[in-house]
């Protein structure tokens, strides 16, 4: 996978920022959820638009999954997608003080709430390190319990290629698993490059 979208210095900087950002995010999320959060080292790569659905499917593995999307706007622009394996999200109902009986709307709201927390913490952390002002749209459901290969349709993607930052989440002693994928379209990456250059200069 070529990384011509950003040069190697920028890539290293982004990796470092993502690492630090995730560390901070992990702490904040732990504070909100009241439990320790396991986060993977962020994986960064450039992908063609056509490959995005397959990439997401590969991350989620076999079986069914749900996905929530949320836009981030401002100096950095793109969409974050959180992919939940099977029904593992309902495992978090008690952590966000949902009642025992999760009806369909409540379980969907739970997905949105978890996504909002994860996306806000992770992307907020990265943006803060880059000193970029960003805001978030309300999250919305992209797919509800569908085969992982159908999470996202290739023809639904407007961009030609995208920068993808992927983080895996897990919780101690719980089945909950999810992936957070940050996708930035090609034309929004100029702003990211500038922000990264600024970050490198100030080191």
């Amino acid at each position: 996978m070529s990384m011509e979208i950003i040069n190697s210095d920028q890539r290293d900087a982004l990796q470092e920022i993502a690492n630090i950002g995730m560390g901070q995010a992990g702490a904040s999320i732990a504070q909100v959820l009241g439990t320790f959060v396991e986060l993977s080292v962020p994986q960064i790569r450039a992908v063609d638009a056509a490959e995005i659905p397959a990439t997401l499917a590969a991350l989620a593995g076999d079986g069914v999954a749900s996905a929530v999307r949320q836009a981030f706007l401002g100096e950095l622009r793109g969409e974050a997608i959180v992919i939940f394996a099977e029904h593992s999200a309902s495992d978090l109902a008690d952590l966000l003080s949902y009642g025992d009986a999760l009806d369909a709307p409540a379980s969907r709201e739970l997905l949105l709430d978890i996504s909002n927390v994860l996306v806000g913490a992770c992307l907020g952390g990265i943006a803060e390190l880059l000193r970029a002002e960003i805001g978030f749209s309300a999250p919305s459901l992209l797919a509800d319990q569908v085969a992982t290969s159908k999470l996202l349709q290739a023809d639904a993607i407007a961009a030609r290629c995208a920068l993808l930052v992927e983080v895996r989440f897990g919780l101690e002693k719980r089945v909950f698993r999810c992936h957070l994928v940050m996708l930035m379209p090609e034309d929004a990456i100029t702003a990211l490059r500038l922000a990264l250059d600024r970050f490198i200069e100030e080191l």
Binding site: S28, V32, E109, D113, N116, V117, A121, G124
Partner: protein
């Protein structure tokens, strides 16, 4: 924000905006004490800002989902990011009456809520501000759409079922029409004819043998004639022989028997045609000679035709046509029987002309009569199921509709030309070969 202090005028303006804006705005601190309660909130909740400020939100609204909301507020305090609730998933945060107390609608105002972190100059989030947007009208429109879509889907399902039923019914009709017209004719006639033909044939064979024996005997007597001494007897024999034209009789007798055998063979052939014709189950595509099919069909209905019309045949050279031969025979029969029935008997014998031809990849079969013709109106409706011009009980009104469907199934078409008082011409066009999916 921290550059220069805003002027008193702009603060007043902002205050007035927050107060007046048609969005519910409230703010709470980390302990849940209300720090802001704008007019929208006061109007809809019935609790004034004076009553609310400094009070615990949950104490004032015990019906709020407290643990969940506290968690939500906590996440905004900790993360410093917005949080949301959507009316589709959680209809409302505060149960407010909706905006249609008279014209009706939903039980309560539908709300989208955004929770915003408010920071002091130090960067710490000290207040969370809730903004409440009224989505009742959107919700009602959407529910209306939902209902409409559900109704449409229901209708679609019903239609699909109906179409399936219709298909079954049509197949049944096709089958029953076959049984009605062919089954009766074929079974009845074949049975009636087979018996007499059987004994006539058997008798004829015996007769043939007897005749041969008799002729043999006569031949044996011939030389004895010369030895007859009695001139009277001899004269009588000679006279009888001359009167009988014995030589011719001896020659003609085998021919007559042969011709009778041929006639019987033809009758058998007709009975066979009848059987072929009524092979109801034979639904295989085959390559058939339509001229032969037309002939065997004509044989089947010949009894209907012969006293009412003369039949002119004008057959062209036809290639073998890929078809369901038994079904096409049914179409030919329908057309021939209809042609006969259209004839005006008071005008004596009519004429039915059967023609066939071949043009490019298509063959055509034409049945023309000199009957009464059809009005425009009848022509328009002729292929409708249950449409008939015959007296009640005489026709089912299915013949032409069944024929139409059979021709459709062959990817062919039926042309119709009719003039009142002059007659009608049906021409069926059929492709020599069926398209890929239909073949085999």
């Amino acid at each position: 924000m921290n550059s220069s202090a805003p002027s008193a005028a702009s603060v007043a303006l902002l205050q007035s905006l927050v107060e007046r804006i048609d969005v519910g705005i409230f703010a709470v601190d980390r302990a849940g004490s209300v720090a802001l309660w704008n007019r929208f909130m006061a109007v809809h909740s019935g609790k004034s800002s004076a009553n609310m400020l400094g009070q615990n939100l949950f104490a004032m609204f015990p019906e709020l989902p407290r643990p969940w909301l506290e968690k939500k507020l906590e996440s905004v305090f900790v993360l410093g990011n917005n949080a949301f609730t959507l009316w589709e998933l959680r209809p409302y945060l505060f149960r407010f009456p909706h905006n249609r107390p008279l014209t009706g609608g939903l039980d309560a105002m539908r709300q989208n809520v955004t929770f915003l972190p408010l920071r002091t100059s130090g960067g710490e989030v000290t207040l969370v501000c809730g903004t409440i947007f009224d989505y009742t009208d959107t919700a009602m429109a959407q529910l209306g759409l939902h209902d409409a879509i559900a109704a449409l889907n229901q209708e679609k399902d019903a239609q699909r079922q109906l179409i399936a039923k219709l298909e079954t019914a049509q197949n049944q009709l096709l089958q029953s029409e076959k049984m009605a017209s062919i089954g009766q004719l074929a079974a009845g006639i074949a049975h009636e004819i087979n018996n007499p033909v059987g004994f006539v044939n058997s008798n004829l064979q015996t007769l043939k043998k007897y005749c041969e024996q008799m002729l043999k005997l006569i031949a044996a007597y011939q030389p004895a004639e010369a030895r007859i001494d009695d001139p009277e007897i001899l004269a009588e024999i000679t006279a009888i022989k001359r009167a009988l034209d014995l030589d011719f009789l001896q020659e003609d007798l085998p021919d007559l028997i042969k011709e009778s055998e041929d006639g019987l063979f033809r009758i058998k052939k007709i009975v066979e045609d009848l059987k072929d014709f009524s092979h109801v189950d034979e639904a295989d595509w085959q390559h058939a000679d339509l001229n032969a099919g037309l002939d065997s069909t004509l044989n089947v209905v010949w009894n209907e035709v012969k006293y009412k019309a003369t039949v002119d045949k004008n057959y062209g050279q036809l290639p073998a046509v890929e078809c369901l031969a038994a079904q096409l025979n049914q179409v030919f029969m329908n057309l021939i029987v209809n042609a006969v029935q259209s004839l005006d008997e008071s005008r004596g014998m009519g004429t039915i002309t059967l023609s066939t031809g071949h043009q490019d990849d298509m063959v055509w079969v034409e049945v023309k009569d000199t009957g009464q013709g059809m009005s425009e109106d009848v022509q328009k409706r002729i292929f409708e199921p249950f449409f008939t011009t015959k007296p009640v009980g005489k026709g089912t009104g299915l013949g032409m509709s069944v024929s139409y469907n059979i021709v459709q199934k062959h990817h062919g078409r039926i042309e119709l030309a009719s003039v009142i008082g002059e007659g009608t011409r049906f021409r069926i066009w059929l492709p020599v070969k069926q398209g890929e999916p239909a073949a085999q």
